[in-house]
């Protein structure tokens, strides 16, 4: 069971809600994925409006609602938006996104650290979206991040976990859950992140723009589960050399037969 800030999640797949062809397709995909954590851009929803299309589609379902600050260019904007969102929704959960470059939407490490510290002190459960930077991840957990969300590759690119060597270090060092976010374009990418030991993955574009988003959501659910099971089962080491699955005595270069 994955636990973030005291809340338990049996599904390790988190979903983003952007880019879907309609709110109803989005809701069906979420249901098919079995996910229990859903992130929504605050810029897209009207929390004061009970008739808001996205909120209505998400309503009544047992998800943890994770609003995100997508669009914020600096800590100040993200903090302001977070407070407005909490006042309207009553929920302290927050996916912190500080992305000053509207093209790549890559996260600003300096502003993200400043905002995380402030928001954590203000009682938010902060899950910051970051580049796969192990030192930044450590600093963020020191200032109170509830989890860290390193990117696999630039958002929306479907390139998979290109940052794997850094993500591995983050996973190894983290005291808080590590959620691989952004760039996961195929179920195999999600499985790969989970096999590496990620605590969860967040997927959006790969599902929302798939030919059949609902079927794709189900495929991701299976991949995440398979990857997690493999990780827990204990993966064999990767090696560039072949090694026989039943080696004969005396043929191994590391044969210890010389020991008395």
């Amino acid at each position: 069971m994955l636990t973030i800030a005291g809340t338990e999640f049996s599904s390790r797949l988190f979903l983003g809600t952007g880019k879907f062809s309609s709110s109803s397709v989005m809701a069906e995909a979420i249901a098919a994925s079995g996910c229990q954590m859903v992130t929504v851009a605050l810029r897209r929803i009207d929390l004061d409006n009970p008739e808001d299309d996205i909120m209505k589609a998400l309503g009544q379902r047992p998800y943890t609602f994770l609003p995100n600050t997508s669009g914020a260019r600096n800590a100040e904007e993200a903090i302001r938006l977070a407070h407005i969102a909490r006042a309207a929704s009553g929920s302290p959960w927050l996916k912190l996104e500080v992305t000053p470059d509207p093209r790549t939407l890559l996260p600003d490490p300096v502003e993200t650290l400043i905002a995380t510290e402030k928001l954590a002190k203000d009682g938010f459960i902060v899950l910051p979206y970051i580049n796969a930077d192990p030192i930044l991840a450590l600093k963020l957990q020191d200032v109170g991040a509830a989890a860290v969300m390193p990117l696999g590759s630039p958002i929306g690119t479907n390139q998979g976990v290109l940052s794997d060597s850094m993500v591995e270090i983050i996973i190894e060092q983290a005291r808080v859950p590590v959620v691989v976010d952004a760039g996961i374009g195929a179920p195999s990418h999600a499985a790969y992140a989970m096999e590496m030991g990620a605590d969860a993955v967040l997927v959006n574009t790969a599902i929302s723009i798939a030919g059949d988003p609902v079927a794709m959501a189900a495929a991701f659910a299976k991949a995440v589960e398979a990857g997690r099971t493999a990780y827990v089962a204990g993966m064999g080491q990767r090696s560039k050399q072949a090694s026989a699955s039943s080696p004969e005595k005396g043929t191994l270069s590391s044969d210890l037969g010389f020991l008395t």
């Binding site: 952007g18 880019k19 879907f20 062809s21 309609s22 709110s23 605050l42 810029r43 897209r44 929803i45 009207d46 669009g71 914020a72 260019r73 904007e77 302001r80 938006l81 407005i84 969102a85 000053p100 470059d101 509207p102 093209r103 929306g156 690119t157 479907n158 574009t205 929302s208 723009i209």
Partner: protein, 373 residues
Amino acid sequence: MFQAPDFNTLIKQINSSTDTDVEKALRTSRLSLDDLAALISPAAEPFLQQMATRSSEITLARFGKTTQLYAPIYLSNYCTNRCAYCGFSADNRIKRKCLTIDEAEKEAMILHERGFQHILLVSGEAENAVDVEYMEAISLRLRDKFAAVSIEIQPMSTEHYHRLFLAGITAVAVYQETYDRDMYKQVHLSGKKRDYDYRLETPARVAKAGMREVGIGALLGLSDWRAEGLSIAYHLQWLRKKFWSTAFTVSFPRMRPATGEFDPLEIVTESNLSQLIFALRLFDQDVGLIVSTREEARYRDGMLGLGPTRYSAGSCTAPGGYGNSDSEAEQFSVGDHRTFTEVSEMIKQKGFDPICKDWDCGFQIDKSTDPAL
């Protein structure tokens, strides 16, 4: 400052493109300006279908199955410029009107009730009617009621743009009309707008003032559309390098008949316009591409998802036109007369999500805590 490349040199460059250049551009994932020149050249015309396919794939990946919707509000048709092509031109004998703040709010609330959350405030260029104080007052009145309020008015100073940003304006559109310097002089007969360079430098002033989004573009029909497209790309690339945290959009207003009865100097077909849109999408994957109601419903429906990312809907181009259907004094006549609901329904039927809210006034500085306001 941005130096627009010589227009005639661009025309020559574009027209010298060959099939091989086009094929190379279509194989490239990061297009250069030379690649773009090939894609908007006559040599690329037989490749329109391939361009459309790539353009739609990129648009889908970057923007998803969505299209943003907005509506313009015409605040004033007073204008001190004489522009040969424009219905608001100072010497056109039309009924002039400038909305009061209350009237502007009334117009805005009509659109709000129709479902719009993003409005574009438009006016003729007359500082004695529409100045920074007037725009500031309207913005402060509307900022909490809409997710996004953008403007398309006369060019201003950086300082004035910054004041409007603090008052809640998020985006500014200012089109060069034509990047062809000679043609620019010919059609802008008098008024402040005659200064080509001041207008050309405006997008940079807007970005410098902190605005979130800057819209650029050219009026298609004044000069060679291909060279206009390439000029836009030069401008866009320069702006992107200098203002990396600003979002950019490009519009392609194709000339329509106006009161002055100015016939387009160059015919730009729907096919030409499509080629330009696809080529720009291939050149810049993230730029917002806007198609207004100048274009006909059939064309807008067909282009949905192929490259454009934002549509206006239910537009009236006369000041006060939403509350009062007397629309004699319009800037241009629209080609798509459908209502917001009809356009939204069309978008949904095509498997896309019509997005009205893609911003939040919460991003803006809180006026209650900001001493400047």
